[in-house]
Subunit: 460 residues, 2 copies
């Protein structure tokens, strides 16, 4: 923001402060530090000119109105838990934080809907729903600390997607402030709606590039009753994936996680669970009225596909203890060094090829890579582990990360299953999307944000 | 197509015939009659200049390339089973029929996907999937005669949506020919994908206005085992809807249909099932591993909410016989006169208000209106019945139809749940969508079809 833009910026700042008062941070780099980047530490972040801590949709409208008038770019952020640099500031932009827009506006237990501001944390919404015997089902790993707005902007996944769908499947309506400050309302509170284009789904996963999601109406569901948990140990990834494919022909597990041998070794090192030295482990949960029947079948099918051991419990606290191994995967790997967490997805039957290919990349790049993730979705988190003090290791780690993206595409997969493209994978998008796709996305972007001021330089 | 446009049209026709030969019909009104309209008889259809019976995506590319070059408008049609005039020709347009693009290109039982041309009939795809023990689950009432392309273009619903979702939930990838002839490929064969905008969902339900869907990859699923069927008779609509709301807190029926007293009287008149003179009937089916447990609960909950009678069977052929009453609803009403079939949706808990409101409209407009539909989705088909020979009755019928749209909107509902807007409801869209929504839809349309040549004058 220099010369002409600098003058424009000065005017912007003055008008912004006049309109929003102490909701605006500026000129204090320390205070602004917390708003500069998300949890993806390997892509650069710039220095914003201003931070707006919006408290209402009206604050967002003011910010986008003034930003358009003065030609200032806007980077929107929620809780800042993103893993792709999607919330990273650029120099001279205004960072628009929705973290303080955290009101649950309405829970309607009869309609089974909740209307929330974008900054509401996923876990807080679920807790509020629980008070009515209902649940907000989407369960990204970050659910305790990530916000609904960000979940929607990245179409966040989680463990239960195989049975309950991704975030987008739970969104009924959105309020969006468009570039320039107009308010768009999308969707309906009906289960079916084919009146016009599905703008709700267009904004889901659009990573803040088309407008700023300020409010959402989401569907709530009956709270799943306590389920049954099965852990199955396999000599190979191939057998574990074959078991998942077979069992999903008969039952609908709510969780079907896989961990490869490298992940298991790290977890065992941290917790001494005694499940290392094997090829792969499946963690399965079944819930609903047929949970026990379904868990029985999971155990039988796992054995049929060569599980060397199975553990099974219908007790909720025992089940939670078994799931702990999966939740330890990333913390256990983070103890071993710096990590690059990836988020590729492939067709489920290509999972063995993905995990074997990742092992080969690990060997050739001389870095540890552990793979774990959502087996029934084919969405894996190969995680590169390296010594951050070793510059060459860091370069090899980044090369391994790039190799994994190319491998996923070779296997008919995608660059991101649930984290988004952000800045991190922006330059790799043409691996997956052809020129026409990219042009169509760009033309839709232009139609909604002609000046290109919303989340520039990211997503697509 | 006169004067300048006429000259352009002449050139278009010559080039079209040169490229596509006898796939082009022109100058023979009788041969073209079959391509002029869909099954919505109450909105006008024009006289096309040409009909292209495409046999491949390349034929579609040629047609759209020439149409753009010569400024000719294009109306796309599949099997012509639409209920909103979405396929009705306009004067001087080229009608592009995809009915002969009916090849199932690939069924992959391991990946559980099918790749099909747009003209494949829904029922034919499901039959092909069944040969692999799999199912294509979306089940619009027209499934035996409607095509996948049209199902996707309208995001068609059906009876099983409450458990298995609408058409859009089953689409993995699309091939779309854009205005001007470029080919866009959307989506992926992975269960999760947040790489760029969700163009697949943008085309689902877009009613042919953004491009011509030529191919789709859809998800197949394990074939649901034979289920259990419950019929519950209630003294009032209110009790029936309360029962549906309560039972969906515990179980996931694959079908939950409701018929009001007017519908039941018509069905009874046709088939003497002995279920007239009651307030409402629910038809419920449960499938999957917990079918029997779930059907037990459905029966118990229906009784708890005041069902005066319940019938229950776990036998598939008996179940089919019970479902017959629902399938007879529309044929039974059509025996009574001309019909105007509507397709509104409201939040489920507003269904009693919708059905009561429709009864009031029936009384005030002095036409019969019967309501039946998908109770767990809130998607109803109030059907106006009138004497087509009585001009005034036809006018009152149309007025009742309009009243029902306004009623649905008043109840927080939508103009169409699963049939689409087409030409039929085009002028009523502003009842549901505000100015900003309509402008955003128009701007997306312009970004993909700047000349406005695809399916002009319909959908949004």
């Amino acid at each position: 923001v220099v010369t002409e833009a600098g003058h424009a910026g000065d005017g912007f700042g003055a008008e912004l402060v006049a309109a929003l008062g102490d909701k605006v941070l500026h000129g204090d780099p320390d205070a602004m530090t917390a708003y500069v980047r998300d949890q993806c530490l390997i892509v650069p972040a710039g220095t914003p000119g201003w931070v707006v801590r919006a408290r209402s949709q009206a604050d967002v409208e003011v910010t986008l109105t003034l930003a358009e008038r003065h030609g200032i770019r806007v980077v929107t952020r929620g809780a800042g838990t993103g893993l792709a640099g999607g919330a990273n500031a650029e120099d001279g932009c205004v960072v628009l934080s929705l973290a303080m827009m955290s009101r649950i506006l309405d829970i309607d237990p009869v309609a089974r809907t909740a209307r929330v501001e974008a900054g509401v944390l996923n876990g807080d919404l679920d807790a509020a729903a629980a008070a009515h015997g209902l649940a907000y089902l989407p369960d990204p790993g970050s659910r305790a600390i990530s916000s609904i707005g960000g979940n929607i902007a990245t179409n966040a996944g989680g463990m239960c997607c195989t049975k309950y769908g991704v975030t987008g499947d739970h969104v009924a309506e959105l309020s969006v402030v468009l570039a320039g400050g107009r308010v768009l309302r999308t969707g309906s509170r009906t289960r079916k709606n084919v009146s016009g284009l599905d703008l709700t789904r267009l904004f889901v996963g659009s990573e803040g590039t088309l407008g700023v999601i300020t409010e959402a109406t989401v569907w709530l569901h009956p709270r799943p009753a306590a389920g049954s948990t099965v852990v199955a140990v396999f000599a190979s990834v191939e057998r574990a994936v074959a078991a998942v494919s077979a069992l999903t022909l008969e039952v609908a597990p709510s969780v079907a996680e896989i961990m490869d041998s490298t992940t298991l070794a790290a977890v065992d090192q941290m917790s001494a669970m005694g499940i290392s030295g094997v090829g792969a482990v499946l963690l399965l949960r079944c819930d609903g009225p047929a949970a026990v029947i379904e868990a029985d079948r999971c155990e039988q099918i796992a054995a049929q596909f060569g599980a060397t051991e199975t553990f099974r419990t219908d007790d909720e606290s025992e089940g939670a203890a078994l799931m702990e191994a999966r939740r330890l995967a990333l913390p256990a790997l983070e103890r071993l060094g710096a990590t690059l967490l990836d988020d590729v997805a492939v067709p489920v039957h290509r999972l063995p090829a993905l995990i074997r290919g990742v092992q080969a990349i690990s060997a050739s790049r001389k870095v540890t890579v552990a793979t774990f993730g959502h087996a029934a979705d084919g969405n894996m988190h190969p995680t590169v582990v390296y010594d951050p003090a070793d510059h060459q290791a860091a370069e090899r780690a980044r090369a391994a990360f790039e190799d994994i993206l190319a491998l996923a595409i070779d296997l008919g997969g995608v660059l991101s299953g649930e984290h988004g493209i952000g800045v991190l994978k922006r330059d790799r998008l043409s691996l997956q999307l052809d020129e026409v796709s990219l042009e169509v996305m760009a033309s839709i972007k232009r139609s909604l944000d002609p000046l290109g001021s919303l989340n520039p330089g990211r997503a697509y």
